[in-house]
């Protein structure tokens, strides 16, 4: 068998190499494997034979044809990930082989480009968040949240985490999984049923016991509303020796106060909106930032890139820093087990933020705010309660329909529109009539008007 990806698997090379090694057949190199373990036939995988590029292209094409992509209009579905525009330049850069075929830059001198790009990612996020230190990525926001909780426990030596009852349910479930082994408890704080905001009284009460490692809030929340009492929450947490952790939406930060401003100790976020695509939920990008505080920095999970100089002091350079926190050095004492992360996605985010820039970030935040408010307003005109909460919101919002939403959703699909996320399972307390809509920079007024018109027609029909 000769194969394009296995250069020396041809007769000539094989023979020569085996001779040099001093064995007769490749399987002689497996002589230490218990013979009863050796398989006597090839595995039942693939399509029973090797395939050429063209064959697989046609096979994959036959699968892809069965997927339905919504572009006209773009998806209105929320739930932590929304449809955002991906600039062509981002894809172009991360398609460069020197980046995507590289390993973790263990040899900094030969990988300065990669390191600088990651340092820039850290720096751009730091400025966007007004936090000082950012790692070069967690897997996604859910695991960033989990790692933040674990870190809070390490820093404070306490074993309880308080989170809002409106927290993103998948994030909550991931955090529970990650905390399960260490026996850390997560408690939910109820919310103001009008605004969605966290119940400050309950929060304060739960903090009294002084066994809380961290208070976590989402801003905007997974249901889109803004948590306005951030300063108060921050103060409360700190007063009781807990860390204050904020989950934010990076694209909101051209408009909304960044976590650094309300004294968050740790800020986490999902970076998918920064030029990554939806990817059916992965890869994503877990953003993780802390303020300048040695207690915090020393306990950070994940990779950090830092600025340095050559040993002769003459040139600038970039290297991985504070590696003594990491598993390959500290093993069971490491601050996390993470090693492979989402570096390339971090670079995508860096390219995206560089393209957006100081002007662009303000503009995009603002336009998302405007469009999502426009959509809510238009929906409310046709008898939909949108937004459900009486509060400011950003990008996502809950809409409550006069009839069960799932029916409406299917009717929208038939019109090639991907509507909001049905909330009956995601957020059961809210009932079967609710959906989580997301409106971004990608939705023109025409798209929104189209949605509203079609919805109006459907509601009329279904009612």
């Amino acid at each position: 068998m000769i194969h394009p990806w296995v250069p020396s698997a041809n007769e000539d090379d094989r023979k020569y190499m085996l001779k040099k090694i001093g064995v007769r057949t490749p399987l002689d190199l497996y002589r230490d494997v218990p013979s009863k373990l050796l398989l006597d036939k090839p595995p039942k995988i693939g399509f029973g034979k090797s395939l050429s590029e063209f064959e697989i292209r046609r096979i994959v094409e036959s699968y892809l044809r069965k997927n339905k992509v919504f572009l006209d209009p773009p998806p209105f579905m929320g739930g932590g990930l929304c449809f955002h525009v991906v600039p062509a330049a981002v894809k172009y850069i991360i398609s460069r082989g020197e980046f995507y075929t590289a390993y973790t830059p263990y040899q900094p001198e030969i990988n300065q480009g990669l390191l600088q790009a990651l340092f820039e990612y850290q720096s751009l996020i730091a400025d966007l968040f007004e936090m000082d230190v950012v790692n070069a990525s967690m897997y996604d926001m859910s695991t960033a949240v989990a790692e933040a909780f674990l870190m809070a426990v390490r820093v404070t030596k306490k074993k309880k985490i308080l989170v809002p009852a409106t927290m993103h349910p998948e994030h909550l479930s991931v955090a529970k999984t990650w905390l399960f082994g260490k026996g850390i408890k997560i408690e939910q704080i109820s919310f103001n049923s009008e605004t969605g905001e966290i119940n400050l009284m309950e929060l304060e009460r739960k903090l009294q016991s002084n066994d809380v490692a961290a208070v976590y809030i989402e801003n905007p929340s997974s249901l889109g509303f803004i948590e306005r009492n951030v300063e108060a929450i921050s103060d409360l947490a700190h007063k009781h020796g807990a860390l204050f952790i904020a989950g934010v939406d990076p694209l909101s930060l051209g408009l909304i106060k960044p976590p650094g401003r309300y004294n968050a100790d740790i800020a986490v976020a999902e970076g998918q909106s920064l030029g990554l695509g939806l990817n059916y939920g992965g890869p994503l990008l877990g953003i993780f930032a802390v303020k300048w505080d040695r207690r915090l920095i020393r306990q950070m999970p994940g990779r950090l890139i830092g600025l340095t100089q050559t040993v002769d002091g003459k040139e600038r350079g970039f290297v991985m820093i504070l590696q003594t926190r990491e598993q390959h050095i500290k093993r069971e004492k490491a601050t996390s087990n993470i090693t492979t992360n989402e570096a390339l996605m971090a670079i995508a985010a860096a390219v995206y933020l560089s393209l957006l820039g100081r002007e662009g970030i303000r503009k995009i935040s603002r336009i998302i705010w405007l469009r999502s408010h426009y959509a809510a307003k238009r929906l409310s005109e046709i008898g939909v309660r949108a937004p459900y909460f009486n509060n400011e919101f950003f990008k996502e919002f809950v809409a409550v329909f006069p009839v069960p939403y799932r029916k409406i959703h299917r009717a929208l699909l038939e019109k090639n529109i991907l509507g909001g996320l049905p909330l009956d399972k995601w957020c059961p307390w809210i009932g079967p009539n609710a959906a989580l809509f997301c409106v971004t920079e990608a939705h023109s007024m025409r798209d929104i008007d189209l949605l509203v018109d079609v919805l109006n027609e459907i509601i009329g029909r279904v009612k």
């Binding site: 919504f70 600088q116 106060k257």
Partner: protein
């Protein structure tokens, strides 16, 4: 590969430093921006509505055109080095060629534009691919089912460790010890610790395999399980694996297989047949999904028998008509991350496996082992690099040398050797790992390295050894041909100079004393 290599050097400013004049440039046009005014008229100004939550000063981002941004990052790529550029024989990393067809097909809009919550009947094509992939991975590992959810190997390990934890708890046993050989990858003990286990270190015997006596004396009713890599990180196959499995199972422990690197054995032996209960795989190693300079990867976790119930949910299912996600979770550990996994790398693995096919996968495995042993044969008579742990034994997908003899004779360390390799346009091996080998040089060529490059690598290592004897200072001053010279790790990590972001840099420049 020819002498005279020199990496591009751009002395590229930070992206912040490019727009020297702070002019208002943009690199991205907001869609339908002409609607802004109309929208404001209808819904009002966010600045006013947001009250105290309004951000009154814009983030300190650079302002650049698309031209400048593209050039900047293109230049940075020229100062990076991946498999597309040359051999990256980092041991334990399985740096194989990333086929371009995988990249092309997996970037199709009909994949990257799918919302994870979109209705299952609108993603049947993707789900079918994932379903097949899961079946194939189960077949290759000898496991019953796999969860595609873990985003990387370490997350797969954490999932596995938590599964072990929960399995025992569900049986009313509070087993709190996880056995981990001293040759194990750092993520093994770290994951075990994250799952709340006490880590018990098992030494390696002179044969390069787990010390059976030590293992026997370590196991007890506190033993939750053993995490093992086979072939292990020394590239040595644990020939006593059946005995190892028996020892652990006999005390009621479970066997966890770190299958980050299945490269030497795919299609040849299966962890399931060796007695393992749980396996994780690194899609970004064995199955050619790219490493992306550190990620993303995908870390599928598989299980056998009862343990299947504990796999992270949802699992991919097929009811004869329709593919769907099965969220049923009676005993499962829950989710290990949001949504379903790193789908794009998984699709690349689907393509990779389908294209190589049953024979091809096996041939790739064999070739990776031939490459390793060919390299060993080429280095046979070199005294400066020694092969610890039974040099007669064939290695599998990788091999670990020690540069201790060289260091003793010349003062040149494994790190110096690494830097000297860079100067020849070659990426260095993994160094100082596994920790049980001093001055370790851990080398893994994978099947995609052509013979010539293995020969050049061996030749270069020999030359470096020779030069180390003649003029150790010359080697210690390497690298010269990379885009920068050797970097100061002390400065980088020193509490007074450590600079993790440009923001910290600016704060320092403004006079703040930021000490770690």
């Amino acid at each position: 590969m020819v002498e005279g290599w020199r990496q591009a050097r751009w002395r590229e400013p930070l992206i912040y430093e490019l727009n020297s004049v702070k002019a208002k440039r943009i690199g991205f046009i907001i869609p339908y921006a002409d609607e802004e005014e109309k929208l404001v008229k209808i819904v009002g100004k966010p600045e006013e509505k947001l009250g105290t939550m309004y951000r009154d000063t814009p983030p300190e981002l650079p302002s650049l055109s698309e031209v400048e941004v593209v050039r900047h990052y293109v230049r940075l790529t020229q100062m990076s080095y991946g498999v597309d550029v040359g051999p990256v024989p980092l041991g334990s990393c399985t740096m194989k060629f990333n086929p371009k067809i995988c990249e092309e097909l997996a970037s199709d809009p009909r994949l990257v534009n799918l919302h994870p919550y979109q209705d299952e009947d609108t993603v049947q094509g993707l789900l079918e691919m994932l379903y097949l992939l899961e079946r194939w991975l189960a077949e290759l590992t000898g496991m019953d089912r796999c969860s595609l959810q873990p985003p990387a190997g370490a997350a797969g390990e954490l999932a596995g460790a938590l599964m072990i934890k929960k399995y025992h708890l569900d049986r009313g046993e509070n087993r709190d010890e996880m056995l981990v050989p001293d040759s194990a990858h750092g993520t093994n003990p770290a994951s075990a610790a994250m799952a709340g286990f006490k880590v018990v270190r098992i030494p390696t015997s002179e044969k390069g395999t787990i010390d059976l006596e030590a293992l026997r004396s370590a196991v007890s009713e506190r033993t939750a399980g053993l995490m093992l890599t086979n072939p292990n990180t020394l590239g040595v196959f644990e020939e006593d694996i059946l005995e190892v499995a028996k020892i652990v199972h006999d005390v009621g422990g479970l066997l966890y297989y770190d299958g980050a690197n299945l490269n030497a054995i795919m299609g040849i032996v299966r962890p399931g047949d060796m007695g393992f209960d749980i396996v994780h795989l690194n899609i970004h190693k064995t199955f050619a999904a790219p490493h992306g300079g550190g990620g993303p990867g995908a870390g599928v976790v598989c299980a056998k028998g009862e343990l299947v119930d504990y796999l992270p949910r949802p699992l991919i299912e097929f009811d004869g008509r329709k593919y769907y996600w099965d969220y049923t979770c009676k005993k499962c550990i829950g989710r290990i991350r949001a949504y379903y996994g790193n789908i794009i790398p998984l699709v690349k693995a689907f393509i990779y496996i389908a294209m190589l096919g049953p024979e091809g996968l096996r041939e790739a495995a064999l070739q990776s082992v031939i490459n390793t042993n060919y390299f060993i044969a080429l280095l046979k008579d070199v005294q400066d690099y020694a092969l610890p742990f039974d040099p007669q034994r064939p290695r599998k997908h990788e091999v670990v040398y020690t540069a201790e003899p060289l260091k003793k004779a010349t003062g040149v360390t494994a790190e110096d050797v690494a830097k000297a390799l860079l100067d020849h346009g070659l990426h260095a091996p993994t160094i100082y790992f596994p920790p049980i080998v001093n001055e370790a040089l851990m080398i893994e060529f994978t099947e995609s390295e052509p013979r010539e490059n293995i020969e050049f690598y061996a030749k270069t290592l020999k030359e470096i050894a020779k030069m180390s004897h003649e003029s150790p200072q010359r080697i210690k001053s390497c690298p010269h041909n990379t885009s920068v010279g050797r970097l100061d790790m002390r400065y980088a990590n020193h509490p007074k100079t450590v600079t993790p972001t440009y923001r910290v840099y600016r704060r320092r420049v403004k006079g703040e004393k930021l000490v770690l």
